[in-house]
């Protein structure tokens, strides 16, 4: 068996991280992901909603009854399970960064 890793895709993980601060709607999630990744990740609409659909199916996010600034839009928020999954993913990534850093694979300027 190979090394451990969560079954979250990078986009699903990014969505969970983007929702860590509270409920948000699709477009705001995309903008948040772009900001969080310094533009490295620019999710397209189709992929984004496919990922949201799967996260909803898996119970990692739920539709929020509390609407934000734009009441016309559907807002999504992390479920308790989704927050746990986000934490687990963050721990896994931090561990990987630690390994990469120990192997001197990350330039100092990137840290």
């Amino acid at each position: 068996m190979s090394a451990q890793s969560e079954s979250l895709t990078p986009l699903s993980a990014a969505i969970l991280f983007a929702l860590a601060d509270g409920a948000s709607h699709g477009y705001a999630i995309i903008k948040e992901i772009e900001a969080l990744t310094d533009g490295e990740m620019r999710p397209h609409t189709g992929s984004m909603y496919l990922a949201l659909h799967r996260l909803l199916e898996d119970g990692l996010i739920v539709e929020s009854q509390v609407k934000g600034e734009d009441a016309r839009r559907r807002y999504y928020k992390l479920s308790d399970e989704g927050r746990e999954a986000a934490r687990a993913e963050a721990r896994r990534l931090a561990q990987l960064v630690k390994v990469a850093s120990a192997k001197r694979l990350i330039p100092r300027s990137a840290l």
Partner: protein, 189 residues
């Protein structure tokens, strides 16, 4: 121009299954028009093309998953998984597991010297598990390739399985009888 591009994008959403469209098409159109409204015409056209291409790819991925759910050949494949898993289990001299396969899902029930466990697999991904009838949080199911590991409360592996989707086999590392009664947090040797 924005209106025309939004109409083209909306038309491309027809590639998605109707249930998906009912749930998300309205939102997706809004997101698309938000994205392109601040762009000049050439950039908006390029953005629209990439968005439509992305919709096509996402729709294929979703439809493929649905096709896998529905086709008789797939039901046959799931049946193969059931039979092969039972054969694998008996070949390993473990008690035969009970497997209930539904269209796109596998519910695997088995026991070894440490006790009973269950694993639910949906679309090839583990989504739920119990050990000794205790449901485990989903973040303790670690899936990578054909490997599925179940972690205990301390993050140690308490159950390791291999799910060979293409060969229709599920195997696991039998836990020792020493774990009986506390298999939820008993680390694999």
């Amino acid at each position: 121009m924005t209106t025309l591009l939004t109409k083209l994008f909306a038309a491309s959403l027809g590639l998605f299954p109707s249930e998906f469209r009912k749930s998300y098409a309205g939102e997706m159109k809004e997101v698309f028009s938000d994205r392109i409204q601040s762009l000049g015409t050439p950039s908006a056209c390029i953005a629209a093309l990439t968005e439509i291409l992305d919709v096509a790819l996402a729709a294929i991925r979703l439809r493929f998953a649905h096709a896998v759910d529905m086709r008789p050949a797939t039901i046959g494949m799931v049946g193969t998984i059931v039979v092969a898993a039972m054969i694998t289990a008996s070949a390993a001299e473990r008690p035969a597991p009970g497997i209930r396969a539904q269209i796109d899902s596998i519910d695997f029930n088995a026991h070894d010297p440490a006790g009973e466990f269950t694993l639910a697999i949906r679309h090839g991904r583990p989504v739920a598990a119990t050990i000794d009838h205790v449901p485990l949080p989903r973040n303790r199911l670690i899936h990578s390739g054909d490997s599925i590991r179940v972690l205990g409360p301390t993050g140690r592996v308490v159950l390791a399985l291999a799910y060979y989707h293409d060969r229709g086999r599920i195997e696991w590392q039998a836990r020792s009888s020493g774990c009986r009664g506390h298999a939820v947090d008993c680390t694999l040797q």
